[in-house]
Symmetry: C2
Subunit: 73 residues, 2 copies
DNA sequence: CACCCTAGTAAAAGTCTCTTGACATAGCGT
DNA sequence: ACGCTATGTCAAGAGACTTTTACTAGGGTG
C-alpha cells in the first residue's frame, strides 16, 4: 500500500479527558495497555475497528483523533 | 478485541461518484480490486490507512463511508 | 527503605489485512 | 458465437496488527 502519514492525538486527548491513564483508556477501548503505548509512539497504525473504539473512548470522532496527511498534495 | 460492527457504504458511494468501477476506485485508493470486493462484501475491515485512502478517493470523510455501531448501546 | 502506580521496552505467538494469480459468471455490442 | 467489461470466487503467502508475559525505571506515600 502507498504512503501517507497518520498522526494521532491520543496522548493529548487522554489528558484532556480527565487525565486518563493508558490503562484506563485501554480498558475503555477494549484493548491492552501495550497497544495504547505503541499507538502513542506511532509504532504502527491501529485497525479501523480499534480506531473507532479509541475515538469513542475519548469522546471524539475518528478524524479528531487520527489525521491523515496525503503525501502528494 | 471486543465486538462492534462496522458498516460501509463503499458500493453506494462508488455509484454516486460517477459510477466508478471497483477497479477505478482501487487504483485511486492505491489498493487492489480484490480488496475493494472484499470490503464491499464485508469479508474484513480495512486498516485505518486504507480506510482514509478510500474515503478520500470517494470524496468523503471516514465516518461518511464507515459507520461504527457499538453493541452495548 | 518498602510499596504502589504509571509509563516504557522487548520478544514470541496468533490473528487479521492485503496482494498476487488463476479462473468463473453475466451483460452488452457486433 | 465471439470478444470485452465488470463483478465475483478461491487459495497461498507476505506483512501488519494485537495480545501475552516478563522485566526496567521514576515518582509519590507511609
Amino acid at each position: 500500500m502507498p504512503e501517507g502519514r497518520i498522526m494521532n492525538r491520543i496522548r493529548y486527548l487522554r489528558f484532556i479527558n480527565g487525565e486518563m491513564t493508558q490503562e484506563q483508556l485501554a480498558e475503555k477501548a477494549g484493548c491492552t495497555r501495550q497497544t495504547i503505548i505503541a499507538l502513542e509512539q506511532r509504532k504502527y497504525h491501529p485497525s479501523l475497528l480499534l480506531a473507532f473504539r479509541i475515538a469513542r473512548a475519548l469522546g471524539q470522532g475518528i478524524e479528531d483523533v487520527f489525521q491523515y496527511e496525503e503525501q502528494g498534495g
